[in-house]
Structure formats: structure tokens, C-alpha cells
């Protein structure tokens, strides 16, 4: 059978009415749990996976796919409306999305996220079906030196999230980099900056920091504004649906986000967070609306959300073709496969084609279901903003702490939540951007470890870092991304950049 036959067969199974019902239940449950502030997709999937036990394999898979996509989309809903991302990949969504929501454009922000997720999900799933064997070869070309080059590119791109002041952005980034150094150094087992506190040996959890800085910091900041009149949030201003110009500005971003997200997600050390950072930087550079970034640019929601979803499909490439789980969610998915006595691995496409194609078809169905469920619900989600603040923020903080307590109910973890919450408040107050702190915490250790791995393999020879075409190519792109804007600005031709951006693709 050809790929298309398999896919059609999978779809035939997946369009059974019972199966569609499972998909609907999965998407609903996933959205319902994922939408709670501070609870990210990985936790959502882990919590809801047992619900799928006891169903037949087809039903279980499709419900799982629904939960997965529902959880991801639910997470971006609260990031946009309440500025409370529960995981690293929706941090950049919150950057522009929350600005849009505050300006009464929450509807279009949620819509572009939903449709972008759908477009990216469908395209990336098709790419998974047809290109997986080729993409996976690319993934294996990537070793420590190539990842290091990618991290350099990500660092350069992150400056897009710095806001108005480079000094404040760099300060935030370095605070994140410093926090990242706490705990055991993964490469040597050496404890750093733990000062004898055993709970610090594992370092600072990204989710704890993100929830503290965003949700707790936000609650403190909103509470402390005297009068609060100037910070009035508009639930709705203009339509809930996307306008013609929103569509026009979004579709390229969806495609760019997908093109970035899928391959990055497919790399064993890539991941949705890196994909969303890279996409955000790309959008700022190429959207032609760079001046709107930081104030609520729809491209800044559309691109990263598409990238995030495409990367999620991308992580299935190494899982299904090589049996490598590369993210927490993929590891949970692996556990799901094991229910059926299957070990995903290089032979899975051969030994269990029904299941693989069933999964791929399920992902497509779940994507459709997500759109069907969530577009009509957008009006309802926006009503969240009309809940009186005492109840709204009391609920946000309860859920924000729930995630931390559920994973690690130690006083040290909760104390960190409080301390970083206060830090997040102070940084907001003095105009320091929050996102680079979390970005530094994520990228810092990756860059450090990949650099030291590359140097260890080459026995200390630094030329290894640009010794392959891929690594050298990425470094050149990073250098250009850094230098070209500076040169153009020095020549007083800043508008040329916007021009180039506009003509691109």
C-alpha cells in the first residue's frame, strides 16, 4: 500500500461516529484542563491519559490526540487572556496576545491562535505522514555543534522579545542565565550555586519560574495599581471574529510558523519552546509591522502558535521513526503505546502500520475537532475577563499553585514561587521584560551543554564548532541577523529593512 492508501484507511477508521465522539470528548477535556492557568500541556496530558485506558486502541489513540491538542490550545487561551502561560512554549504567545486582549482584541487573538494551530497541525501532520523518513535523516545530522549553532541563532532571535530597551532586555536575559546555573551541572555532576540546599540541586523548574513570573507577578502588579483605572482591560472592542486585515496579516505567519516549527520539533534537542522563540523573532523581522511588536501585533500570536503546534507534530517524527521520545509529552505518548504492548521504534511503521496511520489520522481529526469546538467558544472564553477581579485572581492563584503543588509539594518550591512572583512584580514595575528571564533559563543550559559536549567530543578543538556546513551555515545566519540590522541602522536606512521584510516570500 502507498502512503496515501494508508492515510485514507486511517481516516476511514477515524470518521466512525463513535470515534468522532471520542475525539470531541478528548478535545473538550483537554481544553477544559489545559485552560486552567499554570497548567501546561504536558501536565494536562499526564493527568488525562488514564481516561483513555480501557478504550479500544483506536478510541484511545484518538482521545489522546484530542486531549493533546486541546491541552495545547487551552494553554494558549489563558496565556492570551490572562497573561498566565503554564509552559515555556506559550510564553511568546502571551507577549503579543495579552496586549491584544487588553486592547479588546482578545477575540481575534484567540481566533488566529486557533486557526493557526489548525493550519499548522494539518500541514505538519501531512508532513509527518509523507516526509518523516527524510526529515529524520536531517535530525540525525544534528549533533552537539549544530545544536550549539542553533542556540546561538535562538539567542540572537530572542532580542526580538527585549522590548524597547536593550539594556533592560539583556539584564532580564542574564538574570535567567544566572538562575539557570543553580543546581547540578548535567555534564560533570558538579553542584553549582546550591549552597547546601538539597532542593536546589535539581535547579529551578521552568514551569515554576514561568508561573511565578507571569501569573503571580501579574496578580501582584494588577493588585498594586492604585485606582487601576489606567489599566482597564477591555473585554471586547470591535468584533470577536478576525477582520479582513487580521486574516491578511495572519496567513503568512501561520505558514512561516509551520515551516519553522516542524523541523525544529523533529530534532531530538529542538522542541516547541525553541521553535516558538525563533518564530517570534522571525515574525518581528519579516512581518513588516515591527513597530507594533510589544504592543499587540497579531503576527506575534499567529506565528509562534503555528510553530508551537507544528513542533508538536514534529516531535512525532523521531518518536515514530526512531523510537526516540524527545519531549515530556512524547514520553507520555510512549507510555500510551506501551498499553498496547507496542514499543515505538525504528520498526513501528513496518510492524504496526494500522496504529501509526491511525494515530496520524487521529491527529488530523482532532485538529478539525479543535477548531469546531473552540471557534464558537471564543466568545465564551472572553467572558473570563468580565469575572470580577477578586474572584478571577483568587482563582488564578489557586490554580497557579496547584500545578506546582501537584508536581512537587515542597515548601522550597512554594517559597520559590513566592520569591519569583515578587521579582516578576518588581521587574514589571520598572519596565524590565519578563519573557527573556524564562528564555534564559531554557536556552542557557542548552547552549552551555551543547558547547561543552561538542568541545569534549573534539577534545577541546574549538574549530569543530564551524567544521560542518550545517553548523557554519546556521552561525552565518545568526551573524547576519545580528549585524545586518545594525549596519542598516548606521546608514540611516532603517526603512530599507522593512522594505526587504515586506518583499520576502
Amino acid at each position: 500500500m502507498t502512503t496515501i492508501d494508508f492515510l485514507l484507511q486511517g481516516l476511514a477508521v477515524a470518521t466512525d461516529p463513535m470515534i468522532l465522539l471520542y475525539a470531541l470528548i478528548g478535545v473538550t477535556l483537554g481544553t477544559a484542563v489545559g485552560v486552567l492557568p499554570g497548567i501546561g500541556p504536558a501536565l494536562t496530558v499526564a493527568l488525562l491519559l488514564p481516561v483513555t485506558y480501557g478504550l479500544d486502541p483506536a478510541g484511545s489513540l484518538i482521545m489522546f490526540a484530542g486531549i493533546y491538542y486541546g491541552g495545547m490550545y487551552g494553554g494558549s487561551t489563558t496565556s492570551i487572556l490572562l497573561n498566565t502561560p503554564g509552559e515555556s512554549a506559550s510564553i511568546v504567545t502571551a507577549l503579543e496576545g495579552n496586549k491584544m486582549a487588553r486592547a479588546g482584541r482578545g477575540g481575534p487573538a484567540l481566533a488566529t491562535a486557533a486557526i493557526g494551530s489548525f493550519v499548522a497541525g494539518v500541514l505538519a501532520t501531512m508532513a509527518l505522514a509523507f516526509l518523516a523518513p527524510h526529515i529524520v535523516k536531517l535530525a540525525l545530522i544534528f549533533g552537539p555543534r549544530e545544536y550549539f549553532a542553533l542556540m546561538v541563532l535562538a539567542f540572537v532571535t530572542v532580542s526580538a522579545a527585549f522590548g524597547d530597551s536593550a539594556l533592560k532586555g539583556m539584564t532580564s536575559l542574564f538574570i535567567g542565565l544566572a538562575l539557570a546555573l543553580i543546581g547540578i551541572d548535567g555534564l560533570t555532576g558538579q553542584a553549582r550555586l546550591s549552597f547546601g540546599v538539597p532542593q536546589l540541586l535539581d535547579g529551578i523548574e521552568v514551569t515554576t519560574l514561568a508561573v511565578a513570573m507571569f501569573a503571580v507577578g501579574e496578580a501582584l502588579f494588577v493588585a498594586a495599581q492604585i485606582g487601576g483605572a489606567e489599566d482597564k482591560v477591555h473585554a471586547i472592542k470591535g468584533g470577536v471574529a478576525m477582520s479582513r486585515s487580521d486574516w491578511k496579516r495572519s496567513w503568512r505567519s501561520w505558514l512561516r510558523g509551520t515551516a519553522i516549527g516542524f523541523p525544529i520539533g523533529a530534532m531530538p534537542a529542538g522542541g516547541a519552546d525553541i521553535a516558538s522563540f525563533l518564530s517570534y523573532g522571525t515574525e518581528k523581522r519579516f512581518s513588516g509591522h515591527a513597530d507594533e511588536f510589544g504592543k499587540g501585533a497579531i503576527e506575534g500570536v499567529a506565528g509562534p502558535e503555528a510553530a508551537n503546534n507544528a513542533a508538536a507534530a514534529g516531535t512525532l517524527v523521531p518518536l515514530l521513526t526512531l523510537g526516540l521520545p524527545t519531549t515530556a509529552t512524547a514520553a507520555i505518548m510512549l507510555a500510551g503505546f506501551q498499553q498496547f504492548g507496542l514499543q515505538p521504534g525504528p520498526l513501528l511503521f513496518v510492524t504496526a502500520p494500522d496504529l501509526v496511520w491511525g494515530l496520524i489520522a487521529s491527529l488530523l481529526i482532532a485538529n478539525v475537532m479543535l477548531l469546531v469546538l473552540n471557534l464558537p467558544l471564543i466568545g465564551l472564553w472572553i467572558k473570563l475577563l468580565t469575572i470580577p477581579r477578586p474572584w478571577l485572581y483568587a482563582g488564578i492563584l489557586l490554580f497557579a499553585t496547584l500545578g506546582t503543588i501537584g508536581i512537587n509539594p515542597s515548601p522550597v518550591e512554594l517559597a520559590m514561587l513566592t520569591i519569583f512572583g515578587v521579582l516578576g512584580y518588581l521587574m514589571r514595575l520598572y519596565g524590565y521584560p519578563i519573557a527573556p528571564v524564562v528564555v534564559g533559563l531554557i536556552l542557557g543550559p542548552m547552549a552551555e551543554q551543547q558547547l561543552r559536549r561538542a568541545l569534549s567530543i573534539s577534545q577541546g578543538d574549538w574549530t569543530t564548532l564551524w567544521s560542518t556546513p550545517v553548523a557554519a551555515g546556521i552561525l552565518i545566519v545568526a551573524a547576519l541577523a545580528l549585524i545586518v540590522p545594525i549596519i542598516l541602522r548606521l546608514r540611516g536606512k532603517g526603512h530599507v529593512l522593512a522594505q526587504i521584510g515586506g518583499d520576502e516570500d
Binding site: 535530525a139 553542584a191 540541586l201 521520545p325 508536581i407 567530543i457 577534545q459
Partner: protein, 314 residues
């Protein structure tokens, strides 16, 4: 479907009140990992087989299990309902993290499961046997880069033991630690490193698919699913197993200890546990009583020595 959900809700909401023979099992790791799934499997089997009326699992993650171990040792003395799962990784972590609490501060009951450590190369690698690999290490230890799990973990310790047994300076091994199994496998498959070392289970699917070649396994006997020689057979005196165990609270009386050991024994010999091992793909390496205690003491001694040799412990 609705039915399943509802019944799950009801079953949970009207859970039976506490019975005698209750246990609280601490998994000193975050939900989802190996220790956590061991604890939850024990919970399931102990309840399903009627050995215990109610079993709860408590997660206390951190620092290779030493955070949980310290809390367990301090808070449970003399309480026979408290159990903790742990493993070989903990032995190393106690030493490298300079933990104030060790396995001597709890009451080890039994080793439950175990897995061999495998040494494997990509199928396209020129290295055919473990002997060739060791010769390369002898000639230039830095030229052999090892991809494995966290520094000071069982993979790292095995490389150190192999180097020592082969007469190579253990401080000179070029060990490259990877966080997740996925990334390490990709590095081995992509020939980014010379050789990989990890739990046999991670390599077997690749070996069966012909993308990797297993050079040796670390246990005393051959491992099911591969005909690779053991390190002993290849002439290196190394016998390592990445095991998981269960321990009870400190300060138990001999009768209390025997009662816990009898419950664990009943669990291990139940059909439910055997089925559980099959689904999870775990090998039964059950060892209890004085034999286990002797084996544990021996392994702690060997691990301490090799960690000193590698330079991770002073």
C-alpha cells in the same frame, strides 16, 4: 464511553475507607519516571492481590532521590506502613551529592527489578567488538567519546569500572553526559560520538532494526533479546545492574521488618506482579533478606571506589 468515565469518577469518590495493612510508598522522584512507575505498579498489585487494603503513593522529587530519602529517614522512624522505592542511581547520588542521609539510614527490604547496561555503536561504526573498543581506549582514551546518561549515574560508573578493569586510567575517559535518552540515541545513530552506553532496553529496538550493534552487556549473565557477550565473558571483571529496590522505615523491630518483607515477597510472587513486569518490560531480579543486604554493601563499596577514581567523589 460516558459510562467508563462516570464509573471512574464514582469508584474514586467512594474509595473504600482505610483498612489494616495500609502502606504509603514514597517515590523519591517526579511523577512519570522509573521510580514513580515502580511505586505505582506496587500500589496496583498490592491492592489488586489483596495484600494491602489501601496504598498511597507520595512523590518527593529531587537530587537523584536524596531529597526524598532524607525526608523519609527523618520522618518515618519506627512506622511499618512507610515504604520508599529507590535504586542503584540513588547509591551514586548519595555519594556525589554528599548527602547527609544514606541507605544505612533506612531498612532495605528487597531488590525488585533490574536491567543490564548495554554498550552499543551505530551499525555504520567500524568498531565490531568490545575488545576493539577497549584497544582504542588504551591507545588514546580521549578519542573514544561515550554518550550516556547523567554524570555519576550508572552508565558513567560502568564506563569507569570498564576502564579500570581494562587498565585504562578512569580519570581519562571522555564521557559525554546527555539528559534524555532520545538525544543520546540520536547522537549515537548520527555517529556524533564513538559509542553509546545506556539501559539495554533503550538499545534493543535499534539493534533489532539493524541500526545499532550491541557490543556488550554489563550483567553477569547474557541479557534476553541480545547475544552480545557480557563484559565478564569478554574478559573484564565488571558486573553492574541498574536495579530498583524497596526499603522500609528505619528503627523497625525484627517482627515488623519480617512482616513488610513477607508482604513484598507475596507481591513479587503474585500473578499480578508477573503480568505487570511483562507489560512494563522489566526483568525480575528479586533478591531479599541477608543476600540483598550483602550485595548492597558490596555495590556501595565498589561504587564509592569507582566514583573516587573518576574524580566525582573526594
Amino acid at each position: 464511553m460516558k459510562h467508563t468515565l462516570l464509573s471512574a469518577v464514582f469508584a474514586a469518590a467512594f474509595a473504600l475507607p482505610a483498612l489494616a495493612g495500609d502502606y504509603v510508598i514514597m517515590a523519591p522522584a517526579a511523577p512519570g519516571g522509573g521510580w514513580d512507575s515502580t511505586a505505582r505498579s506496587m500500589q496496583e498489585v498490592l491492592q489488586a492481590e489483596g495484600i494491602s487494603g489501601s496504598v498511597q503513593v507520595q512523590n518527593v522529587p529531587g537530587a537523584g532521590g536524596t531529597v526524598g530519602l532524607a525526608q523519609f529517614a527523618a520522618g518515618t522512624a519506627g512506622d511499618p506502613t512507610q515504604l520508599i522505592v529507590g535504586g542503584y542511581v540513588m547509591v551514586g547520588a548519595i555519594l556525589t551529592n554528599d548527602s547527609p542521609v544514606s541507605l544505612a539510614d533506612v531498612t532495605p527490604i528487597a531488590r525488585l527489578t533490574g536491567e543490564a547496561v548495554g554498550i552499543a555503536v551505530s551499525a555504520s561504526s567500524p568498531i565490531q567488538t568490545i575488545g576493539e573498543l577497549v584497544e582504542m581506549m588504551k591507545a588514546d582514551p580521549g578519542s573514544v567519546s561515550w554518550a550516556g546518561g547523567s554524570a555519576g549515574g550508572v552508565d558513567h560508573i560502568t564506563v569507569g569500572l570498564l576502564a579500570k578493569a581494562a587498565g585504562v586510567d578512569p580519570t581519562k575517559i571522555n564521557y559525554v553526559a546527555f539528559a534524555g535518552g532520545g538525544e543520546a540515541l540520536a547522537a549515537i545513530l548520527g555517529n556524533q560520538v564513538t559509542v553509546g552506553i545506556s539501559g539495554v532496553g533503550e538499545f534493543l529496538p535499534q539493534v533489532q532494526a539493524g541500526t545499532m550493534r550491541m557490543l556488550a552487556v554489563s550483567t553477569a549473565e547474557k541479557w534476553q533479546g541480545t547475544d552480545a557477550p557480557t563484559l565478564m565473558e569478554a574478559g573484564y571483571d565488571v558486573n553492574v545492574q541498574n536495579w530498583r529496590m524497596v526499603a522500609a522505615a528505619p528503627g523497625l523491630s525484627a517482627e515488623q521488618k519480617a512482616a513488610v518483607a513477607a508482604d513484598i515477597d507475596a507481591m513479587v510472587n503474585s500473578a499480578g506482579w508477573k503480568a505487570m513486569l511483562d507489560t512494563k518490560g522489566w526483568a525480575n531480579t528479586y533478591l531479599a533478606g541477608a543476600e540483598f543486604e550483602a550485595q548492597l554493601a558490596k555495590e556501595i563499596e565498589a561504587t564509592t571506589a569507582v566514583l573516587k577514581d573518576i574524580g566525582l567523589v573526594k
